[in-house]
């Protein structure tokens, strides 16, 4: 598999590390145990198009959001995560 890093260009799979579903958002500090439980354990196992977190650890160390079809491995989009590089986020 090859992933086009938005910073480095197309690279082979060996430079990347897979994490998993990029959809779940870490709950706020006061969200309570149920919400955190859902976040930690309840993950979808999608047969089809999925948004995933990948780490370009063998390259520029950016965390990426990769839209991938888990059936065909077709990658339709790759974008940086919010805090990659020096992007100013929030306030």
């Amino acid at each position: 598999m090859r992933i086009v890093c938005p910073f480095c260009g197309e690279r082979e799979l060996g430079e990347y590390t897979y994490l998993g579903d990029a959809k779940p958002q870490r709950p706020a500090a006061d969200a309570g145990e149920d919400a955190v439980y859902d976040y930690v354990y309840l993950r979808d196992n999608i047969a089809g198009v999925m948004s995933e977190h990948w780490y370009h650890g063998g390259g520029c160390r950016a965390w990426l959001k990769v839209t991938r079809n888990t059936l065909t491995h077709e990658i339709s989009a790759v974008e940086p995560t919010a805090g990659a590089g020096a992007a100013k986020v929030g306030v």
Binding site: P27, Y41, A82, G90
Partner: protein, 994 residues
């Protein structure tokens, strides 16, 4: 013994170099062949027909094909450490001194004791493994398996390590082309002329594919001249790479292709510094499969007799190699193309005994050829072959209408039509589709970016191959953004093609579908009767197509027979799933450089070479080599060395290279806030110039890693991780920075390799440091208190960092210098510490001292423990959010009966402890119900003069003083141990603070 001297070589012709004779040995006999021969063609030229024994029945077998689809002519190539089993004689290039041996026979090829298996044939039917050896179960390993392994099998692998080298490389191009027949060559021409970067892979050692045997006129030139011209044009293009001896074997995601290059298999030993084979990973925007097609056999009784050969293979041996497989041949065909073999044979001066054509409508041209040649054309099928290990003698023919005929011949050419090589196009679960007009499967559902052209796409005529290749090459180049002038397309005439499908001729005797795995037509029928009708079941039950040839000559016939017996059509019956590799690839090629000491990359600490000079014993810790202990003269075992090192530290001073710890610069205005979120304890409150022990959790509340982090400036922390988790923690922190906490202004950099770091420990640490640190630096308890951290100047002006932290429980500092000074530092520590008996110590002594101090490490941070389990629950801040906070509060993670860290010591002081032993209450029977934990770390404590350990034990800390049983079924030991405080040494901590 000297074999016959090329008795079956034509006096002229062929693409062999008669000026370079090569001598070789087969089964101990010496023969000669020529440069340009394969082992198979050289054997043919020497009149050798019998080359192996079959897998199950030990039937005599000859050479069936002239390519990589060969099921029968498998040999052990080379000898000793370089012996390679199951090598196809049909692709093995002849070289001077080649040695080969036939397989699966004993004591000799012509007299094989195991041929008796043929008499027991009924037990070797489909599924015989499952039926015959069911009972009694204990007989399997003792009797059945060894017997089967001796009786059935292929070649023997070498029993010593392969002395040759292999490597792996990457290549990138616009268009990769598999195959250099007419379609492959024109594809390369069009793409190359467009300006595309092209890689042309050809598994043979010369370009040309079927043109080498079948010739033809292209652009008015004889094929050989056209190939030479084309090769010249391609070679002159700087971005076209021609790779012969290279098979494209697999297709992977994202346009990545696997290819195996047999760099030096055509030499007995690769030249110095060269590899035998190279595995290529080719990244290509487009892939053209011009891999041609494979002629398929017709299944009839005795179709495995030596001398029965594919019609196209017979042409190859005669035309390309000028070698004659037989003197008087018959042809059995169901299609027009088979007749070319007759034309070739006549041109070579061979006798033609008869043509058995299954089609009723043989063309007038062929009829007139027959009448001129004086041989009959029989409308019908071959029903049996009479012959044996010495080859074909007679051929029985069932004529259309029911009459019988007999033909005397010593060779039978067979053509059942052609199967496009659909392997590569089907590797992403593409299912080939059936075409009635050619009665064959053609590619469908090829992976993105891949197309087939020419015979691989079912276009069998020469003109069509040239055209399809050229057009596909031009299109692929255009897709890759290349638009140069493609010039004119090479042209040739198309041959007529007509075929009447025929798969299986009923008759008496074994009719083989899969010759490599000895699967017969009746096995397929039996599988159907027993309910294994799906092609996938058929494959597993009969093992059809599961041999090293992957059923290249057998799969389609097998499923055609299944279709016939089930009354379904062939497309309804369908194909099995195709999987790479297309040809067998040596494990050595996949490993490449990564074997023995190069199995993985190795990391060396800055003091590595100094430690090696000292005779240190190294241990692999992840990728690292770490000094485990430093043996001295007279020490007879590791425990002596380790005990001496511990005593030297506790009584004086020692040092240990701790550069392997992960080190991370955490910069930025929000660095403190960031660390508060990743550690369970607070770091924003840490004063500049101080260090603090920190613990990280996973989001599920389990401990992730620990280490000391120092604040070097308002906006600069220096974080350390354990050796094992250095990489994962960096990744985790980047995830926190970029994904979870992107609003924080913090920057992370690994500085693991920037600093050489040593722990200096023992009561005389300060004395040693005073020697080496600039006198202006205050190292007193007041000037540099416990958990202090700051930059200091060393004598000589070098800047270093000092951290007053202790893992050993002694008065200790960690000192770090920029890595290129690391070796100088260690040598200077030896000089400065000489008056104090300074002793280098390794990871074992480090481990002993941390166990004596009850410090947790890897065995306790084992992915099951919470901070509280480790006795560190109080570190968890209640004033802030941090990773793992909420889940750490779950009921099960805070249950009172959790297994927690506690010390153990044996009641018998002389007893040695072992980690891994289970803890059970005294008086209880060992077992899952009574299992209360396990021993995690043990050591011999020189201070206490006995073995001690740390354990995870249910409610352990409430049970201090209780005697429990340590149960060690692995070593067959059980003994009493006392649960005790986990801090065995200096529990008040006065020594490290003093």
């Amino acid at each position: 013994m000297v074999g016959s001297a090329q008795t079956h070589r034509l006096t002229s012709g062929g693409l062999i170099d008669r000026s370079t004779p090569l001598s070789f040995r087969f089964d101990g006999k010496t023969f000669t062949g020529f440069q340009g021969d394969t082992l198979a063609s050289a054997l043919v030229a020497n009149g050798v027909k019998l080359v192996g024994r079959s897998f199950k029945y030990h039937r005599p077998r000859g050479i069936l094909t002239a390519g990589s689809e060969e099921p029968n002519a498998l040999v052990e190539l080379r000898s000793g450490a370089r012996r390679e089993p199951n090598t196809k004689a049909t692709t093995a290039e002849l070289y001077e001194g080649l040695e080969a041996a036939s397989q699966n026979r004993w004591p000799s090829l012509s007299f094989d004791v195991m041929a008796i298996n043929q008499l027991f044939a009924p037990i070797f039917v489909a599924g015989f493994y499952y039926k015959t050896f069911m009972w009694p179960a204990k007989f399997w390993e003792a009797i059945y398996e060894p017997a089967i392994r001796r009786a059935a099998g292929l070649g023997r692998a070498a029993s010593v390590p392969d002395p040759d080298h292999y490597d792996k490389a990457w290549a990138h191009c616009d268009v990769v082309i598999a195959g250099s027949g007419p379609a492959g060559l024109t594809a390369a021409l069009a793409a190359g002329r467009s300006g595309a970067r092209v890689i042309l892979c050809e598994e043979d050692f010369v370009l040309g594919g079927r043109l080498l045997a079948d010739g033809g006129m292209i652009d008015g030139l004889p094929a050989a001249e056209w190939i030479a011209r084309t090769r010249g044009e391609l070679a002159a293009m700087p971005d076209v790479r021609i790779m012969t001896r290279t098979t494209l074997f697999g297709v992977y995601d994202g346009g990545t292709y696997g290819a195996i290059e047999r760099v030096n298999d055509h030499l007995p030993v690769p030249p110095e510094h060269q590899v035998r084979q190279r595995l290529w990973r080719i990244v290509a925007k487009r892939c053209l499969v011009a891999a041609g097609s494979i002629e398929r056999p017709i299944v009839f009784a005795g179709n495995d007799t030596p001398g029965v050969m594919m019609a196209s293979a017979m042409r190859s041996y005669i035309s390309r190699y000028a070698a004659t497989p037989a003197g008087r041949i018959a042809l059995f065909t169901n299609n027009e193309d088979g007749w070319r073999t007759v034309e070739t044979a006549i041109a070579a001066g061979l006798q033609v005994a008869a043509v058995i054509d299954a089609r009723p409508d043989v063309s007038p041209a062929h009829r007139s050829l027959a009448s001129k040649g004086g041989f009959p054309v029989l409308n019908g099928s071959v029903s049996a072959v009479d012959g044996g290990k010495n080859g074909v003698r007679k051929i029985a023919v069932s004529l259309t209408g029911g009459a019988r005929a007999e033909v005397e011949a010593d060779g039978l050419a067979v053509s059942g039509g052609w199967n496009p090589a659909v392997g590569l196009t089907s590797y992403h679960r593409g299912r080939p589709k059936w075409r009635d007009d050619i009665a064959a499967f053609v590619p469908d559902g090829a992976p993105p970016g891949m197309v087939a052209a020419g015979a691989a796409n079912g276009a069998f005529g020469l003109g069509a191959c040239l055209r399809e290749g050229f057009e596909a090459g031009a299109a692929a180049a255009q897709d890759a953004g290349r638009s140069g002038n493609i010039g004119s397309m090479p042209v040739a005439d198309d041959e007529a093609f007509s075929l009447t499908p025929l798969w299986h001729v009923a008759g008496k005797g074994k009719a083989f579908v899969d010759q490599q795995h000895d699967v017969t037509a009746s096995d397929v029928e039996l599988a159907q009767r027993e309910g294994f009708q799906s092609v996938e079941h058929l494959k597993r039950y009969t093992t059809l197509g599961m041999a090293t040839d992957q059923g290249k000559t057998s799969n389609v016939a097998g499923l055609a027979i299944m279709a016939a017996v089930t009354g379904k059509s062939i497309p309804e019956t369908g194909t099995t799933i195709y999987r790479p590799p297309y040809v067998p690839v040596a494990i050595g090629a996949f490993a490449g450089h990564h074997r023995d000491e190069n199995f993985h990359a190795t990391r060396l600490t800055p003091s590595h070479h100094w430690a090696a000079e000292q005779g240190a014993v190294f241990v692999d810790t992840g990728l690292w080599k770490r000094a485990q202990w430093y043996p001295r003269a007279g020490e007879t075992d590791w425990l002596q060395s380790v005990t001496r090192e511990v005593k030297a530290v506790r009584g004086g001073v020692g040092f240990c290279d701790v550069s392997t710890l992960g080190k991370i610069d955490v910069h930025g205005p929000d660095a403190g806030a960031f660390l508060d979120r990743v550690y369970i304890n607070s770091f924003s409150s840490l004063a500049v110039g101080k260090a603090r022990y920190g613990l990280m959790l996973r989001e599920d509340g389990i401990v992730y890693d620990d280490g000391t982090t120092s604040r070097l400036a308002e906006d600069h922390y220096f974080l350390t991780t354990t050796t094992a988790k250095a990489g994962p923690v960096m990744q985790h922190l980047e995830f926190c920075r970029q994904v979870l906490l992107p609003e924080l202004d913090v920057q992370l950099t690994s500085v693991s390799d920037q600093w050489a770091q040593f722990s200096i420990a023992g009561p005389k640490t300060r004395d040693l440091l005073k020697e080496i640190v600039d006198p202006a630096e205050d190292l007193s308890n007041e000037g540099f208190p416990f958990m202090g951290a700051r930059e200091v100047k060393l004598s000589g002006g070098i800047k270093a960092r000092l951290f007053r932290i202790s893992f050993s429980g002694e008065m200790a500092f960690e000192i770090s210098v920029p890595a290129r000074y690391g070796e100088a530092l260690v040598r200077n520590l030896m000089i400065a510490g000489k008056p104090f008996g300074v002793t280098p110590y390794g990871t074992e002594a480090l481990g002993v001292m941390r166990i004596e101090k009850g410090h947790v490490a890897g065995p306790e941070l084992n992915g099951t423990t919470t901070a509280a389990d480790l006795g560190l629950g109080k570190m968890m801040s209640t004033k802030k959010d941090f990773i793992g906070r909420v889940m750490a509060g779950r009921e099960a993670l805070t249950a009172p009966n959790r297994q927690v860290v506690v010390g153990i010591k044996p009641t018998d002081k002389a007893r040695r402890l072992r980690s891994g032993a289970h803890i059970i209450p005294k008086g209880e029977v060992p077992g899952p119900d009574n299992d209360q934990g396990y021993v995690t770390s043990v050591c011999f404590s020189p201070v206490l003069d006995q073995w001690i350990g740390l354990s995870l034990v249910e409610r352990g800390r409430e049970r201090i003083g209780e005697i429990v049983r340590a149960h060690d079924p692995l070593r067959g030991e059980e003994y009493d141990v006392e649960l005790c405080n986990s801090v065995f040494y200096d529990p008040e901590g006065g020594r490290q603070r003093g």
